[in-house]
Symmetry: C2
Subunit: 158 residues, 2 copies
């Protein structure tokens, strides 16, 4: 069956990463699978390898992998003559996570704008001004982040 082995360091790190993702609303098992694929020495792991090291049921493994596939966090490769799939992290996953943060800020901005509009139409000051500032600041940073990214790209590879 070709089981893989994890050091204690690796196990702890997978849990730590898992807890972090849980705090962001992820399901425990899904978080562990993603963590495993990130931390394991072997980049590509099979269904059963994942199931065994993480002590998950087949159903949990299956739905975790499908969730991660559907949300573009992982992908799989196959090998000629083998039916099983080898799952691995999609490199772009990290960019996706940052993009999700950006989306979150956009949603925040859009609710705040609605609140501001409603309050402004009633000439309610105080909070209204604060909200306006927050919107302003969020939009300002959101507009500057792409530039910052470009700057980083051009500076990194010396």
């Amino acid at each position: 069956m070709n089981e893989i082995h994890l050091s204690n360091n690796q196990k702890e790190l997978i849990e730590k990463f898992g807890v972090f993702l849980e705090s962001k609303g992820w399901q425990p098992a899904i978080a562990r699978v993603l963590g495993l694929l990130m931390i394991s020495d072997t980049n590509e792991l099979t269904f059963d390898q994942i199931r065994e090291v993480l002590h998950l049921s087949k159903s949990a493994t299956s739905s975790a992998l499908n969730f991660l596939l559907n949300t573009n966090k992982i992908e799989y490769i196959t090998k000629t003559g083998e039916r099983k799939r080898y799952f691995r992290i999609r490199q772009i996953m990290f960019e996706d996570i940052l993009k999700e943060e950006q989306d979150m800020r956009h949603k925040f901005i859009s609710v705040l704008k609605e609140v501001h509009e409603l309050k402004e139409s009633k000439n309610l000051n105080g909070l209204c001004e604060t909200i306006k500032d927050v919107i302003d600041y969020l939009e300002f940073t959101n507009n500057h982040l792409p530039k910052l990214y470009a700057e980083w790209v051009s500076n990194r590879r010396k």
Copy 2:
């Protein structure tokens, strides 16, 4: 009893804001209370006013308010000769929310650093390089955000 009244617009907006906060991991009732304090025409609301418009139980209202007080999202004022408290949004709340995002990124960075360290020590390339880049980028933006904030402050009040 002095009940307050909300327009349909306001009710919907409170729910919308509530759903947004739920997606960030907040409990429904707590999210509604914060939304109410932000959206209501009256800035300061009493325990019973909040309880009544939101159709919450006393216990839910109590624990929501205490949570929001403990996490510095709201504060209360009192009026001479009255025992009851008037709750309101803390203006700084918004800055806090942004700060919490920053903290989240820091936590992300610190786990990624551990992962990177472990992988680097084993000369595992591929993912390792990607992780290094993500760490780099996150730190880069985190370092530039304060400058961006300063820039925004100096530009806003013409």
